[in-house]
């Protein structure tokens, strides 16, 4: 038996479908599940077919949850200085974080909106396949962020070395002894956290979106699945909506003509944009 056959078992007998994930990464993560449980493929399959709780455990182990506050500071600085203000005239700004993981980027974006005086207009849908990650995001309690350089990141985003500490104190309750920071309630008011599998589930809301954030999620999918998901993002966005991808993700083929690259982000447009 191979990992491909195991993925077929998952697809046919559970709510999850990883069959169009990037081969190397999914293979290695399944190998790791087998190692951790000291199981062969046959044992893994048998347990998968008989134990729903175990299936959830496998899904948690397969999915990747690494994220940071303001990962790639240049992107956030662009959003803050040049981009988010285009939605200032909106009555409501609808934002979907697809694959929000433990929520750091959800709160990063809301910090920017609050600094721009636009926080009350925001309505955020934050979705992820991992219930554990969502639970953490809802709590908003983070360890080891100071050690990982979040203050420096804050300063870079606002282009001011003094700003890092200020932002930290303004938006977080800080326990510096234990390096634990807790998101203050003002950032949490307008967020709905929803468990959602981007691959299998329909949209968990009826709203059209102004901004779709989906950073370093599509990299785990093969090119065909990526195209399907980007089509969904295209459909759910308003016509001047913004799609924000990871620093090394891009749109392929057809979609290059349906979005306009603006700095590091993609803006949906009705016209065609031919790129040479």
């Amino acid at each position: 038996m191979t990992y491909k056959e195991y993925l077929r078992v998952l697809k046919e007998h559970t709510p999850y479908d990883f069959s169009e994930y990037s081969d190397n990464s999914i293979n290695r993560r399944i190998q790791k599940v087998m190692q951790d449980h000291k199981m062969t493929f046959d044992e893994l399959t048998a347990r998968t077919l008989s134990d729903n709780r175990f299936v959830e455990e496998v899904v948690e182990a397969i999915t990747v949850n690494t994220t940071d506050f303001f990962r790639d500071p240049e992107l956030w600085r662009f959003l803050f200085e040049k981009h988010l203000s285009i939605y200032r005239k909106n009555g409501v700004i609808n934002i979907w974080h697809a694959g929000c993981s433990t929520g750091q980027e959800v709160f990063s974006l809301l910090i920017l909106f609050n600094e721009l005086g636009m926080l009350p207009k925001t309505r955020v849908f934050a979705t992820d396949i991992s219930q554990k990650a969502l639970d953490k995001a809802k709590e908003g309690i983070y360890k080891h962020q100071i050690e990982r350089g979040c203050i420096d990141n804050f300063s870079k985003v606002f282009n001011d070395p003094k700003k890092g500490e200020q932002i930290l104190d303004k938006y977080f309750d800080v326990d510096s002894m234990n390096d634990i920071i807790t998101v203050k309630p003002l950032l949490k008011k307008n967020i709905k956290f929803i468990r959602h599998d981007l691959v299998k589930n329909g949209l968990p809301f009826y709203n059209k979106m102004d901004i779709v954030f989906c950073r370093n999620v599509l990299i785990y999918f093969n090119a065909k699945l990526q195209t399907r998901i980007i089509q969904r993002f295209f459909d759910v966005l308003f016509s001047n909506g913004t799609l924000v991808l990871g620093a090394h993700e891009s749109l392929n083929g057809f979609f290059k003509t349906k979005f306009e690259k603006t700095g590091p982000v993609f803006k949906k447009s009705n016209g065609f944009h031919f790129r040479c």
């Binding site: 990037s22 990464s25 290695r28 370093n216 990299i219 785990y220 090394h248 993700e249």
Partner: protein, 192 residues
């Protein structure tokens, strides 16, 4: 020197401490018509993340690019694993990126780059491990060896830090143990 007779679909080069100058030297002496895709997986200092691709391009005889996810390997182009991402070679000759946890304290992990190339291309992968200060890469290049790919370890005597090549030599016997200039000679005689 023994020049491999088989055709290769990818050359993966992994290095850490001291490897920038070795990689520059290799790229600067490559035949401009070199026709096998190259993947470079180099550890970077945390705070010096930019400038590496520019630095390598100044010296290199072939273009060095930082790929986007699912970009295709191309003959005569060197792809540099972007900082803070793992890079995997896939069956269809594309590369996938990943932000998974660090491996051996490293992202990109050289083990992942090597083992993915072994998984995807088996005997058509060629792995080269250079100078470096940790063990990342040793297990991965052994995967290439196990799948009958071709393996070269930089001669520890020629390394700024020899931990990485020595870790590899402990695990298996590579096809070649070579100094940087000899590595170039092998590369320039490869069939694409």
């Amino acid at each position: 020197m023994n020049i491999p007779d088989q055709k290769f679909k990818v050359v993966v080069i992994g290095g850490s401490a001291g490897s920038f100058s070795v990689v520059s030297r290799i790229l600067s002496q490559l035949d401009p018509s070199f026709s096998v895709p190259i993947v470079l997986c180099l550890h970077r200092l945390k705070h010096i993340r930019s400038g590496l691709v520019e630095g390598l391009n100044m010296k290199s005889k072939i273009p060095v690019v930082e790929p986007y996810d699912k970009d295709k390997l191309r003959p005569g182009i060197a792809m540099l694993a972007p900082s803070n991402y793992h890079l995997f070679v896939e069956f269809d000759g594309t590369v996938s990126l990943s932000t998974e946890e660090v491996n051996n304290h490293s992202r990109p992990s050289i083990d992942y780059a090597f083992s993915s190339a072994a998984f995807a291309f088996r005997e058509k992968a060629l792995g080269i491990i250079l100078t470096g200060a940790n063990r990342d890469g040793a297990q991965g290049i052994k995967c290439i060896h196990d799948k009958k790919g071709f393996t070269i370890v930089q001669d520890p005597a020629s390394c700024e830090v020899d931990t990485m090549p020595r870790a590899a030599l402990k695990l298996f016997t590579p096809n070649q143990v070579l100094k940087p200039d000899e590595i170039v000679q092998v590369l320039n005689q490869l069939k694409g």
